[in-house]
């Protein structure tokens, strides 16, 4: 094992940001892939794989990817939601790998939502 210098130490810490992020739960943005039975049948597993692959490819370490169950709009699966801290989530529907790539590059990397793929903004409220 190599002995660390102080710069090595700091670099190790910065590279481990993703671990910290996952365990502390405070991210710049959160991507939720809906993986209820309807979602999985429509191909949500691939969508999740694509999201994780893109996170790794672009070296993004302040965004969390997580899954949730059926969102209710089964006919438009696969779906995902992009939620920035303190902003309402944007739901994207009828996805495939290409669309996910475009959404990631635009909404996650540049901060611009992609209206053509979106269903709407916001969450359902109760009552």
């Amino acid at each position: 094992m190599t002995k660390l210098t102080i710069d090595d130490l700091k670099r190790m810490r910065d590279e481990a940001k993703r671990t910290v992020l996952l365990r502390e739960g405070t991210a710049r943005a959160k991507i939720t892939v809906f993986m209820g039975t309807c979602g999985i049948t429509a191909g949500a597993r691939e969508i999740m794989d694509e999201v994780l692959r893109l996170i790794e490819k672009h070296g993004v370490d302040d965004v969390i990817a997580t899954s949730s169950a059926c969102a209710g709009l089964c006919s438009r699966e696969p779906m995902l939601a992009v939620e920035y801290r303190f902003s309402p989530p944007v739901k994207y529907v009828d996805l495939d790998r290409d669309k996910v790539k475009k959404i990631f590059e635009s909404h996650i990397l540049k901060g611009h939502p992609v209206p053509e793929y979106a269903l709407g903004v916001g969450s359902e409220t109760m009552g």
């Binding site: 094992m1 190599t2 002995k3 660390l4 210098t5 102080i6 130490l9 700091k10 190790m12 810490r13 590279e15 481990a16 940001k17 993703r18 671990t19 910290v20 992020l21 996952l22 365990r23 502390e24 739960g25 991210a27 959160k30 809906f34 993986m35 209820g36 039975t37 999985i40 999740m48 994780l52 692959r53 996170i55 790794e56 969390i64 990817a65 997580t66 899954s67 949730s68 169950a69």
Partner: protein
């Protein structure tokens, strides 16, 4: 690093391990692999999460969902539902006492909500056997700063300004202790971590060692730099095998990375650490006895002054601090003394870890800011008394501490206030007692423990505790005499004032504090030969209340000693001579007709 979407943090502190946590971990790993999710989901063993009553525990991040009381048979369903289908599982979540709805998120659970984690900041979130995890959360950055941006004097000044006081029990200002040791001209100097933790019911130090051993290493290395030591020892009681193992692994991992040993972080500073195991003596938690034990001699305290800081291990200047004191140091250096001093009270800065045990709903390990009221710990975090019984007393400070009654529930917890009422902070044990606890028996229990653990050197401690134990046992068994309480008080004060070490000096606290606050119980035992709590088998009697008994015969049927007499539909009676006081009748009676007193 491969992107992942979930980390399952499984608590593997000793408490959960003894409830099967390693099996739970294996089950998680097996299920995750079965569903092909091992690239996306990591199963991480962590140190003690604190909620020991409800183990085995698992936390799913980043969702923050908390699962408790897990069994191996639950895991396949849990993984399938939560990981594959994204549906958290309510039946495995925590439901507060007397409520119906589960609370999914850990941060909303009362037990966790009111705590402030400083010393325990890494609990439940890092794998203690993976140094990379410790580094990810700013590990060893404090050490880097201390070695390259500060002089030893500046380090000591920062620790002094923070107001950190020893967490082992005496509460001596840490900065001042370091100063005294640093100023000594003799070399070599030594650093020791006291992880003996002899108090019955205390497991704060054990949890820190099992959850975050690197924090101890980092703290000790910073201390070594400040004082000018090149060798250190971690003295762990041998009854903590998991803590010993994790500490040894951590030391090796740190050495491999150049964070311990020769030329640390390339700065030329050397500090070596080794683990020494205790051999089961409570008195070895006392610093001078501990030093003797490290030297290979019998653990017996010696006269002070000179203090270990002046003349300790092998006659050289030695700085000993408790585990909890050490783990606060890296953060004080990294975040600054002002941050630390902003927590706590005027005379007690920072936080304190307590092991909350006894007749409390939420048994476990908690860390709270100094100054929090006892009531908030017992009822807010602790969830109140088990079985909805009534609070009677709380013992703080382990066998060296005193028992405090209900009237003192609003007392803020800090060094000064606890001492002013006849108790002390000690190392952080909080034992909660209810109406069925006999306070005289409590005094007897702790006096028995201390009498056995006394090293025997001082006549008053050795003989005084023995005699106090005799008197207390007599009282509990119905042989107490008028004048016993006064004699106990006199003996207690004598032991307190003429013992050489902390064990003897505080040994009388349980007895003296129970006499002070629960005198009526002593009187009842001595004068009326009854035990108000219904505990002391020697003098309690079971009897049937005629007005409540309907003659159903349930008690007669369950009595193993055939001590219940009576005909159907007639009030029954208990034959006192035959009764073995097992309590089976009390449990069988549906009319609350059995009186114990």
């Amino acid at each position: 690093m491969k992107a992942q979407r979930t980390h399952i943090l499984v608590c593997t502190g000793t408490g959960c391990v003894s409830a099967g946590a390693f099996d739970i971990m294996e089950a998680f790993q097996k299920e995750i692999k079965k569903h092909g999710l091992e690239d996306e989901i990591d199963v991480v063993p962590t140190g003690c999460n604190g909620f020991c009553e409800n183990g085995p525990l698992a936390l799913f991040e980043p969702d923050g969902i908390f699962y408790q009381r897990l069994k191996v048979q639950d895991i396949p369903f849990l993984v399938e539902e939560h990981c594959l289908k994204g549906r958290p599982v309510p039946i495995l979540m925590y439901v507060p006492h007397r409520e119906k709805l589960p609370i999914p998120a850990m941060k909303n659970i009362d037990f966790f909500k009111y705590q402030k984690l400083v010393a325990l900041r890494n609990r439940g979130r890092i794998n203690p056997e993976k140094i990379e995890d410790y580094i990810a959360f700013d590990g060893y950055i404090g050490l880097a700063k201390a070695l390259t941006e500060m002089t030893p004097d500046e380090i000591i000044e920062e620790v002094s300004k923070s107001g950190l006081r020893g967490r082992g029990g005496a509460g001596f200002p840490t900065g001042r202790k370091w100063q005294i040791c640093q100023e000594q001209p003799r070399t070599p100097k030594y650093i020791i971590c006291n992880a003996d933790e002899g108090d019955p019911g205390a497991f704060m130090d054990r949890s820190v060692l099992e959850a975050d051993p690197h924090a101890v290493i980092e703290g000790m290395t910073i201390g070594a730099r400040a004082i000018g030591a090149e060798k250190g020892f971690v003295y762990v009681r041998t009854e903590y095998p998991l803590a010993v193992e994790r500490m040894k692994k951590a030391i090796k991992a740190a050495e491999d990375m150049g964070l311990l040993g020769e030329d640390i972080l390339g700065t030329g500073f050397n500090f070596k650490l080794s683990v020494v195991r205790g051999a089961g003596a409570f008195v070895c938690g006392e610093e001078s006895a501990l030093i003797r034990s490290v030297e290979g001699k019998v653990g017996r305290p010696r006269q002070r002054p000179p203090f270990p800081a002046q003349k300790g291990l092998w006659g050289k200047p030695t700085n000993i601090n408790n585990v909890e004191t050490w783990v606060n140091v890296p953060q004080i250096i990294r975040k600054g003394s002002e941050w630390f001093a902003s927590l706590g009270t005027e005379n007690s800065k920072g936080t304190k870890i307590f092991s909350l045990v006894g007749k409390i709903v939420n048994t476990g390990l908690v860390e709270v800011p100094m100054g929090i009221k006892i009531r908030d710990v017992v009822f807010g975090i602790g969830g109140g008394i088990l079985g909805d019984r009534k609070f009677k007393a709380i013992q703080t400070g382990g066998p060296s501490g005193g028992c405090l009654p209900e009237e003192l529930l609003d007392l803020p917890i800090d060094f000064q206030s606890l001492q002013s009422v006849g108790s002390m902070m000690g190392s952080g044990g909080l034992i909660v007692m209810d109406e069925k606890t006999c306070m005289v028996d409590v005094a007897r229990y702790f006096t028995n423990f201390l009498a056995e653990e006394s090293c025997g050197k001082c006549f008053t401690c050795r003989k005084g505790l023995e005699r106090m134990l005799e008197i207390l046992t007599n009282i509990c068994e119905g042989r107490g005499k008028e004048g016993d309480v006064e004699l106990l008080t006199e003996l207690g004060l004598m032991v307190k004032e003429t013992s050489m070490c902390g064990l003897g000096q505080t040994a009388a606290n349980p007895t003296l504090s129970t006499i002070r606050y629960f005198r009526n119980e002593y009187d009842a035992h001595i004068r009326d030969k009854t035990c108000p709590a219904g505990f002391c088998k020697g003098i309690i009697t079971y009897s049937i209340l005629e007005e409540k008994c309907v003659g159903c015969g349930a008690c007669k049927r369950v009595c193993p000693a055939k001590a219940v007499l009576g005909d159907k539909k007639e009030p029954h009676k208990i034959n006192g001579e035959a009764c073995i006081k097992c309590g089976a009748c009390v449990e069988a009676c549906k009319f609350d007709a059995i009186n114990v007193g």
